[in-house]
Structure formats: C-alpha cells, structure tokens
C-alpha cells in the first residue's frame, strides 16, 4: 500500500522524461548532426567542424542571417513599444470603442498567416510601396504587435492598482507615476513580450514570403529555398548557432527578470 504513491512518482518521472525527450530529441539530433562528417543526415561518420567553416564562407546564408537579425531587432523594438502603449491605453483608458479596439487588436493572432500575408501584399501593391526589407519589418510589426499587447496587458492586469494610487497620493504627476511605478512594475512583461516578438519574427516564413523584396531574403526564406536541393548540414550548423543565440537571450532575460522581482519583493 505504502509503495503506491512512490510508484506513482516513478511513473510520473518516467512520463516527464519521455515528454521532454519528445520535445528536445529532434533538436538534439539537429545539433549533433551539425558536427557530422557525412553529408547525408542518416548516419554518424565522425566529428567535423567543416559545416561551420563553410558557413563562414557562404555569403548568401550570412546575408540571410543579417537580414533576419535586422528585421527581428527593428520589429521587436517597434512592436514592443506599440504593444505596450496599446496595453496601457486599453488597460487604463476609459474611452468609446474600447472593447472594439481590444477585439481588433487580438484579431491578427487568430487570422491565418496566409490571409494576412496576401492582404499585406495587396495593400503594399495598392499604395505602390516597393517591396524591400522595410516592408518585411512593417509586416512583422503588424502580426506581432498583438502578441506584445496581450503579454503586457496580462502583466498590467496583475498589478495592484493601489500602488499607482499611492504614488499619486504622494504627489507624483501622471508622467512620474508612469516612469517610476507603472513602467518598472510592467518591465518583466515588456521584456517577455520583446522576447516573444523577436522569436516570432526570426522564424516567420509565410508572411515574409509574401512581402519580402529585393535583397530581403531572411533566414527562414533562405532555408526553405534550400529544400529544393535538399537540407545540407550547413543548415543544421546555422540552426545550432541560432539556437545558441536564442538560449543565451532567454538566459539573459531570465537574469534581468529576476532582479526587479527580487527588489519589488524586498
């Protein structure tokens, strides 16, 4: 009888391990095969850094990485600022059409990407805006600003309104209240939304494929176009590097998030 809970514990642990294997094994395979001496992805034939060396020489791939980082950085900046402002406006403001604004803001999240991509392409056509890297940034801001707003809004909703009231009671103006109370408290949410936007932007294929112009091949577009000739270990290598970048970003963000949490708790 007593072994019951312990037994259940083992089962749960085994189940957890299986789930994590399911989630991470493909990624581990990808990382391992980026060091594989064989060109075919089926068998291990010894360790090599050849694919990373080739990466350093592949101008097209490097340009794609630069484009992706530029688009990701710019889109993150713009979408996070806009999303934060939207979240503040909808969360704090009292105005006509607030609910409609809220629904319209969430719409891009549920809209199929193909629809949004085609719509953006015809829109750019209608206003005769030539496709370029700028149109990619605009498109990424359009689809990610909703995510940013939702994340920041969730954080704002969890804040104690009495903190802002206290600031005002103590003589702080609206700007000072925002800068010294609301913003620091919302910061973890804002950073989380920035990370989310960057992640969405860096791996978007469908919408980007519609609106990318001359010289605007991003990494997902580049990798996808390689599929016609088969995935090379170079793609594994570049994915591994991106993975390393993403993981370090998350570690940094976690470290940043822990500090304000500790100080506000103290």
């Amino acid at each position: 009888m007593r072994s019951g809970p312990r037994h259940a514990g083992h089962v749960l642990a085994a189940y957890t391990v299986l789930v994590y294997l399911f989630l991470y094994l493909p990624i581990a395979v990808l990382v391992v095969f980026s060091f594989n001496a064989s060109r075919q992805t089926a068998a291990w034939q010894g360790f090599t850094l050849e694919w990373y060396r080739r990466l350093a020489q592949d101008a097209g791939l490097q340009q794609a990485v630069r484009n992706s980082l530029a688009v990701g950085g710019l889109a993150t900046l713009v979408a996070t600022v806009l999303g934060t402002l939207a979240a503040l406006g909808i969360g704090r403001g009292r105005f006509r059409g607030r609910r409609a604004t809220q629904v319209l803001l969430i719409l891009p999240v549920v809209l199929p990407e193909v629809v949004l991509g085609a719509a953006l392409l015809s829109f750019f056509g209608a206003i005769a805006l030539r496709l370029s890297l700028a149109t990619v940034v605009i498109a990424h801001v359009v689809f990610s600003v909703s995510y940013a707003a939702i994340v920041v809004r969730a954080r704002l909703a969890g804040l104690d309104p009495s903190l802002e009231e206290a600031a005002r009671d103590l003589g702080a103006g609206p700007w000072e209240t925002f800068r010294r109370v609301t913003l620091p408290l919302a910061l973890p949410g804002i950073l989380a939304s920035a990370l989310l936007v960057f992640t969405l932007s860096i791996d978007d294929y469908v919408i980007t494929s519609f609106v990318a112009g001359v010289g605007a091949t991003t990494l997902p577009l580049h990798i996808y176009s390689l599929l016609k000739v088969g995935v090379t270990p170079e793609v594994n290598a570049v994915s591994t590097l991106l993975l390393a970048l993403t993981i370090s970003l998350i570690v940094v963000a976690q470290a940043l998030l822990r500090r304000p949490a500790a100080s506000s708790a103290g």
Binding site: G60, L129, L131, S209, G213, G215, H222, K228, G230
Partner: protein, 352 residues
C-alpha cells in the same frame, strides 16, 4: 519678394536633386548600375554573378524562390522590384496574357542564335517574344540497381508486380497519368476521354503496387532504401544517383516523359532594363552557360555551350538524355475542359 525668390530657388534645388532619379526612370534605366534577379535556388552560381559584376560594374542582387506560385504572387503585386526572373513553362501561359512581362527586343540579344532550336518557339510563347529558355529537365524513374532484375528502360517497371510495395509515384495528377499514357504510346496531353479512362484503369490496378505517392521527398526515400523504383524529377534523382552511382540510377523511360523548361524573362515592372538585357546576353555566352551547367548540374538550352560542358555531365543521360528519348518527351499543356474529367479520375484512383 526676396523671400519668395528664396523659396523658389529652394524648390528648384529640390527639383534638381530629384531630377536624376526621374530621368533615369524615363529612359528605362540608361546605364543602370543595379540589377535585381529573382531565381530558383541553385540556378545561378555565385562566380557567374561575380564575373558579370567585374565586367560591367553592375551591382547584382540575387534572391531565390522555391515555388512558381511565390514568383506569381510577387509579380502580380506590381511592387516587386525585379529585373530578371525565371518562371517555368506552364507559368508563362498565365504571366503573358496577364501582361506582367516585357516584350523582348531580340535586336538587343545578339547571341540568341546560341540557343537550341528544340527549345525555341514553344506553344507557351511562340516566337519567344517574352521568354528565353534557360535550363531544362525531365521526369523519369530512379531505381536501386541491386533490387531490380535488369536496368530499367521502360515505364513498365512502375507497373511491374515484381516490385509490389516498393514503387513510389509522384503525388501529381499529370505526372502519374503521363506515365500511364506514355506506356500506352499516347501523348501525355491526351484529351480523348476513352483513352483517359483506360489510363485510369491501369493506374487503379497499379495502386496496389505503389508504396506511396510523394512529390517532395522521392529522392531521399529512394536513397534511404524505402522504395526501389521511384518516379521523380531528374535534378534531385540525378543528385542522389551521382552520390552513390554503384547503387542508384536515373533513367528517362524509352517511351518518353515530361519535359520542363525554365525561362528567362523581364517583368514589365522592371526598372533596370539595360542591365537586364546585358545580363541575358551575358548568360547566352557559351562559356558562361557551360559554367552554369557544370555547377548546377541541370541541362542548358544553350547549344553552343555543349562542347564546353564537362564530359562527365554531357555523357550523363540523367542530365542530357539522348536525342531519341528527348524527341518523345513533351511539355505539360493545359487540357482545358478535359481537366475536370482528369480530376475526377485522379480522385477515384487516390480514394480507392
């Protein structure tokens, strides 16, 4: 008074600043310094682009796509800034009537004569008013030499009960019907309903032997040993066969098969037309065309380039099938109203 004059000169200065841009557009890009190319992946080696840049001083941006539909969407938007693009044969039937392409001035392409007449004047663009053939290829059968009784020569192999459960067919209505029609000695653009129904009966019987219908991964499945006989496009199949020639081979069946041609065109919206003409003429040079073939392993429509192509590639029948076989290959054409019947028969086969 003085103030207005200052304003006026300021406005004039602005106009002067803007003028060069305006003039360049009006003259259709006399002396362009830029060229934007939108092309299939692995279709234009870097060194060929670099050589053009060295010779002309024109900065070239090359973007790649992996589907004709992506190209169509971009051209239809009217805001894509490309000067040279490379649509496939069947795509041109849509692009030309929609007025999306610029008419080519043959006088500006003195090396036009280098092209193989076989690929000129096709039905999708009689007289080549809009397009020049660039690279071409075939559909055929890839197979595992060790698993078949004798080297495959005929579409019969894809209908052979000895290979039951080890056959792959493309997940493509026209290609699958094409295999059956060619085996019957018919055109793959056959429109006679009775013949099409007979072909459908053959394909229904064949389905029991087919392991899978797959258009994206056929070469890998063959290389991995999951199937032993695979219908597929020559580019991918030739690639896996070249990597393991002792085991894998590609053949265009003797009855003939599908031929495809990818074509160089200038979109009507192109802003750098001089550079585009210079680039097309450069690609028509025999030495340049041969360098492209030697690098990308697709056959070129440039006949003058053939003596300069590496002998191993020229002799590779997966890339350059013998003329007798090529004579029996056809482009896939739009079947018009017959397509409805074909769609229904294909659904019956797949749903069986």
């Amino acid at each position: 008074m003085r103030r207005t004059r200052e304003l006026r000169s300021l406005a004039l200065a602005f106009l002067v600043l803007l003028a060069p841009g305006g003039c360049r557009e009006a003259k259709h890009g006399q002396g362009d310094r830029r060229l934007n190319v939108y092309i299939w992946t692995n279709y234009l080696p870097d060194e060929v682009v670099a050589e053009f840049r060295r010779r002309t001083g024109i900065e070239v941006t090359v973007d790649t796509y992996s589907a004709n539909e992506a190209l169509l969407a971009k051209l239809q938007s009217g805001v894509a800034d490309y000067d040279v693009v490379v649509p496939s044969d069947y795509m041109l039937k849509g692009l030309i009537p929609q007025g999306l392409l610029a008419e080519l001035d043959h006088a500006r392409l003195p090396r036009l004569g280098n092209l193989d007449r076989r690929f000129l004047g096709q039905r999708f663009d009689p007289g080549n008013r809009y397009s020049l053939p660039y690279l071409w290829g075939t559909t055929g059968l890839g197979y595992d030499r060790r698993k078949v009784a004798a080297p495959i020569e005929s579409w019969q192999a894809a209908f052979d009960p000895r290979y039951a459960g080890r056959i792959l067919m493309l997940d493509d209505m026209r290609e699958v019907f094409g295999a059956a029609l060619k085996l019957m000695g018919r055109s793959l653009n056959e429109r006679d309903p009775a013949v099409l129904r007979r072909a459908a009966e053959m394909l229904k019987a064949q389905k029991r032997l087919v392991r899978t219908y797959n258009s994206s991964d056929f070469a890998n499945l063959l290389a991995a040993g999951d199937v032993d006989v695979a219908q597929g496009y020559n580019g991918e199949l030739a690639k896996v066969a070249t990597r393991d020639p002792a085991r894998l081979a590609y053949v265009v069946p003797k009855e003939g098969s599908t031929l495809w041609i990818d074509n160089l065109v200038i979109p009507r919206s192109a802003r750098h037309r001089d550079a585009a003409y210079a680039f097309l003429d450069y690609l028509l040079e025999p030495a340049v065309a041969a360098r492209i073939v030697n690098s990308v392993h697709y056959a070129s429509a440039n006949r003058a380039a053939l003596p300069l192509v590496a002998p191993a590639i020229r002799a590779n029948s997966a890339i350059y099938p013998p003329p007798s076989v090529l004579d029996r290959c056809e482009l896939i054409e739009d079947l018009g109203p017959v397509t409805t019947l074909l769609d229904r028969l294909w659904t019956e086969i797949k749903a069986q």
